[in-house]
């Protein structure tokens, strides 16, 4: 029992249960004192808030800060001892690599949840007519699929960034290790609250939660809001930490233009996450208040405006898609030179294109509202800014192609996913402009075309690069390689299935299939395509299952990875054994060349600093 209790996660969940009960009890008590009866919604919301705080206190994510507040000393972050073995992953650790893996595993669990939700409603859609789902459950699943996967992506990015950035830039850890741990642990209870939404009535609004529909939705809507709200904290704090780390903790000689390109993409992404996430929290909070306290922010009959919500919501949620894809594009740019044996073409331009996308990403949110009823002329500037995104994105594509040109290309599994990512993201990119010019969007808006376009950008910009990163860095994490055959099976099953799925979605969308409908008119003739899309969806799920099996199996039975298995110039491969040791580099290194000078004889990126570095 005591042993069980020593596991942070167990303590945290107990803390969340106790906190939730406290919150519900407190509110009900206050209402009783005021002579009011039981009311589920306010009680549940306060319970959810208290539950999250209860988890954080119980898991120990705020203990050190509490001690500081009391004026007590704590251990330095480097002296912090993790429990041995697997135990360290289930409790608070300040090691960026442990936190990175914690993020990553949580992300994969949510990926499995979000994907399974899709499989359920995809089965429903395999034929016209209602097969086995109720309308309410269908709508809830659609909304959950969206938001759970968004959270999964955010955590996945945090995982990659946490694990890799300090290794890539030669830092011992992140700038603020405790904040880092807090950022991860707040995401756990927040995700639990989010998942609970489906158990307390779900919600029928999709992940966009537009009022007035979200004002009338069941209780699950509030759990959705609370879950997203706290996950937003995680995102903001993580971004802050990454920016500070990248700006301040690079190895000697590593000026900004000698950073591995992935660090640039993380920097760009973090700048967006740090400055935009507040807006989605705010917009959801306003709906929450309107529901709880009757404040009519979005009720037109009482002086509110439903369009206001959409502006606030998309001011985050559009840049958010760049949060999702920039690190993935960074992974592509990072891995491509290794497998092409050539420098990344136009490094500075690629780095700046990430910043360019981040910047223009803030100016385009209105394109989600072309049919929403915003002022007519307002649609035109948003069309210009939207298409402008194509310019920095184009720079990336052209640079990748130029990198491939006259290389000596090899095709291990990570490279396959990199190439798959480029092609799929290209499809996502090319289907953007028709949705970005207003008049064509009047047709495409809210159709399956958008669904297809969006899945192309997400898979090309995140899922494919994520899988590439997993196959590439898994040996660095575990010391063992993932199975190559299973990996190839994964790729060659997923890629065609995915292309069939999204091309099918775009086709039915253009022909008139609306988004988020539980049933469709057989007269429109979509049955066959829908069946094919469903089959393709299941094949994707099967292929990801291969990855999961591979991840678990290879941890014990994989081929041992010794040395610089990819012949990379990057310091984590060139200068560290696998698995990467605690506190990373025991000797500091300095940067003496450019990161991607493959094919330049005698050039080096890093070398050890010979003299011991004094305290500065």
């Amino acid at each position: 029992m005591r042993k069980l209790f020593s596991i942070g996660l167990v303590r945290g969940i107990l803390g969340q249960i106790v906190g939730t009960a406290l919150g519900i009890g407190l509110l009900t008590g206050i209402r009783a004192a005021m002579g009011l009866g039981w009311k589920a919604e306010p009680a549940a919301v306060l319970g959810a808030f208290f539950g999250v705080f209860g988890f954080l206190i119980a898991v120990g994510a705020v203990s050190d800060w509490w001690k500081w507040a009391k004026g007590e000393d704590t251990l330095e972050a480097e002296e912090f001892k993790d429990p041995p073995g697997m135990g360290r992953y289930f409790g608070v650790s300040l090691d960026h690599k442990v936190i990175g893996i914690q993020y990553g595993i949580t992300s994969l669990i949510l990926l499995a949840f979000g994907g399974s939700f899709a499989l359920i409603f995809r089965t429903e859609l395999a034929a016209s007519g209602m097969q086995f789902l109720t309308f309410d459950l269908f709508n809830s699943l659609v909304g959950m699929h969206g938001m759970v996967l968004i959270i999964s992506i955010l955590l996945g990015i945090a995982g990659m960034a946490n694990y890799l950035v300090p290794l890539l830039i030669g830092a011992k850890d992140m700038a603020f290790p405790r904040l880092n741990a807090f950022g991860f642990w707040i995401a756990v209870p927040a995700s639990l609250v989010l998942l609970s939404a489906i158990l307390v009535g779900g919600f029928d609004t999709g992940w966009t939660a537009y009022p007035p529909l979200s004002l009338r939705a069941p209780l699950g809507m509030q759990m959705f809001f609370v879950g997203v709200f706290f996950n937003g904290w995680s995102s903001i704090l993580g971004a802050l930490n990454l920016i500070a780390t990248i700006i301040r903790m690079r190895a000697k000689g590593m000026n900004m233009f000698r950073m591995p390109i992935f660090a640039w993409s993380v920097l760009a992404t973090s700048l967006i996450a740090l400055t935009a996430t507040q807006l989605i929290g705010l917009s959801f909070q306003l709906v929450m208040f309107e529901r709880l306290f009757g404040m009519p922010f979005f009720d037109a009959t009482k002086g509110g405006n439903p369009i206001l919500f959409q502006h606030l919501f998309w001011f985050y949620s559009h840049p958010a898609v760049y949060v999702f894809i920039l690190p993935g594009l960074g992974i592509i740019s990072e891995l491509l030179p290794v497998f092409v044996r050539k420098p990344l073409f136009g490094y500075k331009w690629v780095a700046m294109s990430s910043m360019g996308i981040a910047l223009t990403g803030f100016l385009v949110w209105g394109h989600h509202m072309f049919t929403a009823g915003i002022e007519d002329y307002l649609r035109v500037p948003f069309m210009y800014s939207t298409l402008l995104v194509a310019v920095p994105t184009g720079v990336k594509f052209f640079s990748w192609v130029a990198t491939l040109w006259q290389g000596r290309i090899r095709f291990p599994v990570p490279m396959l996913f990199v190439l798959g990512g480029i092609v799929v993201f290209l499809l996502g990119g090319l289907t953007g402009p028709p949705s970005g010019t207003v008049s064509t969007d009047l047709h495409l808006h809210d159709t399956y075309f958008i669904v297809g376009h969006f899945h192309d950008t997400m898979f090309g910009g995140y899922i494919f690069p994520l899988f590439a990163a997993i196959y590439y860095w898994y040996p660095k994490i575990t010391g063992r390689k993932l199975n190559e055959t299973l990996g190839k099976l994964h790729f060659y099953l997923m890629t065609p299935a995915f292309l069939v799925m999204t091309l099918g979605q775009m086709r039915v969308g253009m022909l008139g299939m609306r988004r988020r409908i539980a049933d469709y008119d057989p007269a429109q003739g979509f049955d066959t395509t829908q069946l094919i899309i469903t089959i393709a969806g299941f094949l994707i799920a099967l292929s990801v299952l291969f990855l999961f099996i591979n991840l678990i199996r290879s941890a014990k039975h994989g081929e041992v990875a010794e040395g610089n298995i990819w012949e990379s110039r990057s310091p984590e491969w060139a200068m560290l054994p696998s698995p990467a040791p605690m506190h990373n580099y025991d000797q500091d290194f300095q940067v003496v060349g450019d990161p991607y000078d493959y094919g330049l004889a005698g050039s080096r990126y890093t070398e050890l600093v010979t003299q011991p570095v004094g305290d500065d």
């Binding site: 037109a300 439903p306 190439l419 010019t437 086709r507 539980a518 469709y520």
Partner: protein
Amino acid sequence: MEKSLPGNARRVLIASANPLYGKGLEKLLSQQAGGQPIEIRLASTMSATLEALEQWNPTLVIVDYDDHTIDRAQFLNQFITGEGPMQVMLVSLKASGAAVVYDRRTLSSDQTQDWLHIPTSTQPPQVSDVPRRSESMKHFAIVAVLVAISTVLVDYLLRTIGLLPIEASTQATIIDRLFNTHFMVISFLFSLIVVFLVYSLIVFRRRGKETTEGQFFKSSTRLEVLWTIFPLAAVIYFSYLGSLSLAETRKVDPQALEVKVIGRQWSWTFEYPDFGITSDTLQLPVNRQVLLKMTSQDVIHSFWVPEFRVKQDLLPGENLVKELRITPTIIGSYKVRCAELCGKLHAYMESPVVVVSDADFQTWVDDQVKLLNADPATRGELAARQNGCFACHSIDGSKLVGPSWKSLFGSERKFTDGTSMVADEVYLKNSIIKPAAEVVAGFPAGVMPQTYADSLTDVKIADIIAFIKTLK
């Protein structure tokens, strides 16, 4: 002139003042040698060249044709006086790597002239693909051709595969024109990237156990600027096209027919203020612009008829009435479907949209106006006519496909299964909404459509029954 070089142990001398020229060729030659013994020397000055020619006696001399520090007359002199077999190859990078080979033993006087004077416009007679730049040009040429072919194919595919529903409005035609422009650009960019990518994967892959690195080049500011400026110009132009197209779809016709559209969970109502009509079907005259003024009674909905292309959300709130202009161009039946998630039955929020000729529209309006003031039986007669009942059911007692309605109400009906029943209101309603349940003896089963339960409102059914009751 021989192309293959004699002898097993090849000795190659490269004469050029440009070190890159020598290094590049050296690398290329050693790769091409494929295991055969080869010795390569570089000479960067005239004197070093002559010396090597004299003492080392190479089998092949490669001379940089563009390099004027090499004195050709002197070199030629030395070359023709020698004894052993020797070839010289003149390679010009300025002429995209054009090369010409001369053999010491078969040298003609024409060739000597060619050699001494840089040809102004005529290409050297024999072109080989040895040097790097021409290799590179070859790759580009192949890719360019493939990109062009692929662009045409993809564009053709996108246009002919049937991606869009029929164009049933003026706005649809305008929008589809922009779609076609999009298809063209998409086809080109898709082909450009994918052909370059796939070509690289095939041609520049590592073969076997090869461990060589790729060509070392890091960036080209000219290229980067080029592929920033061109897309920038393209997207600005596209936005401009998009603006024009948007303006065109919104062109105002002062004669437009005004219709008020009301959305609610989960149905539509259409009001015609000019005529005082309210309908659950959107009836439109062909080739006349209709101005839809749209509002919602509860949550956000969206008006979309795919064949008309354009789409507009309906917002709750009296001050948030949104407008949409459509000019239907093809007579036919369509459906308006809600495109913004609006709760449980979102999927089923649809209503018929019927585009008719001017005359038919006027008839419809007249009928509707008449209906407003008419008694149920009159409305019923109209509904029966609008729904095509009289095609099969007479009102004068004559036998058509189905039983006549004359003296139907209150009569004894005999069915094909031998049972019978008195035709009361319940029976008549059931016969309309479930015509296959009981079939009157003497009439074929399964002829009457089974869709009236959906297409007729309860009021209309009651009206039709009231009309039947009057047919004594």
